[in-house]
């Protein structure tokens, strides 16, 4: 396996910074690339072209996603297997009417690779510490370099490129916009001994391919034949082809586009050099699955990162502007509220004062009710007692006590005097009944009494009933 690094140069378009041939180590495992030799992103893997083919179709207007789906379906149909078995990348060009295709149709040139072979190549690269971001077949790389190195040929119309390499030999046919077909060429089994014979066979292959290209759906009239690769073989082929037709046969040395410490033998790495140059020029053909190249994550990640950054970045201006606007509205509200409070201040002061005066009025009423108006009708009660008491009733004591929060109390102490106990009792009971009917009095309890016999000053037998009666003085007491 060969690894190399290419950069921009001054005198020539590119400069080969280093070339390294990876060989097996002592334990049979391949050497590993040094981390510092490999840049982070611009890494590309050249795939062997034997299982990679060109798919050239005309499609109606559709977006890239639809085109990709269409090509996957066509590949699965033509080559078999499932759609996921094939990896496809494609280029789009408009129909220019030259081949009879209408301008509304789109010419799509797809490159179809076997997923398993690609993953295998990727694993081999990973094994030596190489993590490519892109992968493309050699013939695509060389086609891209042809458009860079020989732009007049590439843009002039149909061309056929022959590459005679050490490991790969192929030809591809294309026009000013895209590739039409590619074919693997047989190796020189003679080992370089019978070069003329081999050159003759290759010339026949070239003629057949040119003829086939004329017959294809998107036919291409080959005008130029470009031969590159192993020097002697290429020279022989060029000699052979020169006399065969009106083609413009060109011997091309793509390695001459590169500066290197040692230019001898540089042709052996033509495909790798071409791939590196294609990456530098920004050409994009990538047959690595998305999960290996990280391409699927990057655009999405980039979009998410940009969206997040935009949202995050917009937060502060929005907060600031929103906050200032909110503050302005709040300040206006506070000014209005302050004015309203000013209006209400006087009224609420007066109302609060009136409320407190109401409370004072209530207390004054209570005082009046309790102390000012609560005087009992003592005089009337006293008169009633006097009216109801017969002459046989002698009062000894009448006492009125303030009842506090309750009604005042009245205690009558007296005696009823008669000639007999029965009579005295009768007088007392009649008096008691009369007192029970006295308005403004409510007897509190049964009276207590005591019968006492005796002789008066005139030597008459007299019986007295001494009684004590307790009342509450009740009812309206306004005098």
């Amino acid at each position: 396996m060969t690894a190399l690094k290419v950069g921009a140069a001054k005198e020539k378009p590119y400069r080969v910074e280093w070339i390294k041939t990876i060989s097996a180590g002592k334990d049979g495992a391949p050497e590993r690339m040094r981390r510092e030799d490999m840049p982070d992103s611009q890494t590309i893997l050249v795939l062997p072209g034997d299982d990679i083919s060109i798919l050239s179709v005309m499609l109606p207007e559709m977006n890239r996603k639809q085109m990709h789906a269409a090509l996957r379906g066509i590949a699965a149909r033509e080559k078999g297997g499932q759609q996921d078995d094939w990896i496809i990348d494609f280029r789009v060009s408009r129909g220019n009417g030259a081949s009879g295709a209408p301008k509304s149709r789109i010419k799509v040139t797809g490159v179809v690779a076997d997923r398993m072979r690609v993953e295998q190549s990727y694993a081999e690269a990973k094994n030596i510490g190489f993590a490519p971001r892109k992968a493309l077949p050699g013939f695509i790389a060389l086609e891209l370099l042809l458009r860079i190195g020989k732009p007049d040929i590439a843009a002039s119309g149909g061309w056929l490129l022959v590459f005679l390499g050490e490991k790969e030999r192929f030809l591809c046919v294309g026009d000013s916009e895209s590739l039409l077909l590619s074919r693997i060429l047989p190796k020189d089994l003679s080992g370089g001994i019978e070069r003329d014979e081999y050159a003759g066979k290759m010339a026949v292959e070239v003629e057949r391919s040119a003829f086939f290209a004329r017959q294809a759906e998107n036919s291409v009239e080959v005008k130029h034949i470009v031969v590159c690769g192993e020097p002697e073989g290429c020279n022989k082929l060029v000699e052979n082809l020169a006399g065969r037709s009106d083609w413009d046969v060109v011997r091309w040395k793509p390695e001459e586009l590169f500066e290197a410490e040692t230019e001898e033998g540089l042709w052996k790495h033509s495909l790798e050099l071409a791939a590196a140059a294609a990456v530098l020029q920004g050409h994009s053909c990538n047959l690595l699955p998305r999960e290996l190249s990280g391409e699927s994550a990057r655009p999405a990640f980039r979009r998410a990162a940009i969206a997040s950054a935009a949202c995050f970045g917009a937060v502060v201006p929005i907060l600031l502007v929103g906050g200032m606007r909110t503050d302005a509205i709040q300040q206006k509200f506070l000014r209005d509220a302050s004015a309203r409070i000013g209006e209400l201040q006087g009224r609420s002061e007066n109302a609060a004062g009136a409320y407190l005066r109401n409370r004072s009025i209530k207390v004054c009423r209570e005082n009046i009710d309790k102390y000012g108006m609560g005087r009992p009708e003592l005089a009337r009660v006293l008169d009633e007692i006097a009216l109801r008491a017969p002459s046989d009733i002698v009062f000894e004591n009448l006492r009125v006590e303030d009842g506090g929060d309750g009604p005042p109390g009245l205690v009558l102490r007296g005696t009823s005097v008669a000639g007999s106990g029965e009579r005295a009792q009768e007088i007392f009971l009649r008096f008691l009944g009369a007192m029970d009917d006295c308005p403004g009095l409510a007897r509190k309890s049964e009276p207590s009494f005591l019968e006492i016999g005796g002789i008066d000053s005139e030597d008459l037998v007299r019986t007295r009933v001494a009684f004590t009666i307790e009342y509450d003085i009740v009812g309206d007491v306004v005098e």
């Binding site: 005066r357 409370r359 004054c364 102390y371 000012g372 004591n397 303030d402």
Partner: protein
């Protein structure tokens, strides 16, 4: 360690611009957005307070109409009666003269009248009556003052002082009853604490204790 030059190489114009934006963002946040957010938060608190004050004042103003109507309609007449029943001054001499006059009109002679101290028996102690600044009212009045700047200086004095007098006289039962009856003609509030009418040889002996009141004075 990477050299300074290599580090500077890695600072592309795009990265420098991004760093500048980031710094500006941070500066704008801390100098602009954050203070504004604090200000709006403070304003929110003030708005809540002002809204509560407006609601409270509006309610009080609305109720004030009713309060003022009561004050306007009731207070003049009530306070006139109150002032008569519970005069601002003690007025003992005037009361004594009035009682003596009544006793004289009732034909009561040897009328003994004197003021006696009040023993604290839970009744008649000084400080009767409520006051807007009593225990429960203090809080209300305080709130009214704090919230509405209510004027408490012109409120009527509702606390009362209690005084007690004792009367002794001998008379007939009927005249005693008349005397008691004519106590009602005394314009100020009088409360009979006790009345004792004891039979004696010539009639009755009356011993009476009366409470009378005056408005509290500090």
């Amino acid at each position: 360690m990477k050299s300074f030059k290599e580090t500077m190489k890695r600072i592309t114009p795009g990265r420098a611009l991004a760093a500048g934006f980031a710094l500006a963002w941070v500066a704008l946040f801390f100098s602009g957005a954050l203070p504004v957010m604090k200000m709006t938060h403070e304003n929110t608190r003030k708005i809540e307070s002002a809204s509560a004050a407006i609601a409270s004042m509006t309610a009080m103003s609305a109720a004030g109409g009713w309060f003022e109507a009561v004050v306007r309609d009731v207070e003049p007449g009530l306070m006139e009666d109150y002032g008569r029943l519970f005069p601002p001054e003690k007025g003992r001499e005037d009361l004594f003269l009035e009682l003596a006059r009544i006793a004289g009109d009732c034909g009561i002679e040897q009328f003994v009248l004197r003021e006696i101290p009040i023993v604290d028996d839970g009744e008649g102690a000084d400080g009767h009556g409520g006051d807007p600044a009593n225990d429960a009212g203090d809080e209300t009045a305080g709130m009214m003052v704090r919230q509405y700047a209510a004027d408490v200086s012109g409120l009527p004095e509702t606390r009362l002082r209690t005084f007690r007098l004792s009367m002794n006289f001998d008379t007939e039962y009927g005249r005693a009853a008349e005397f008691v009856s004519r106590l009602g003609s005394v314009p100020r509030a009088l409360r009979v604490r006790s009345l004792d009418i004891e039979q004696n040889s010539g009639g009755v002996t009356v011993t009476m204790e009366l409470d009378y009141y005056a408005q509290w004075k500090n």
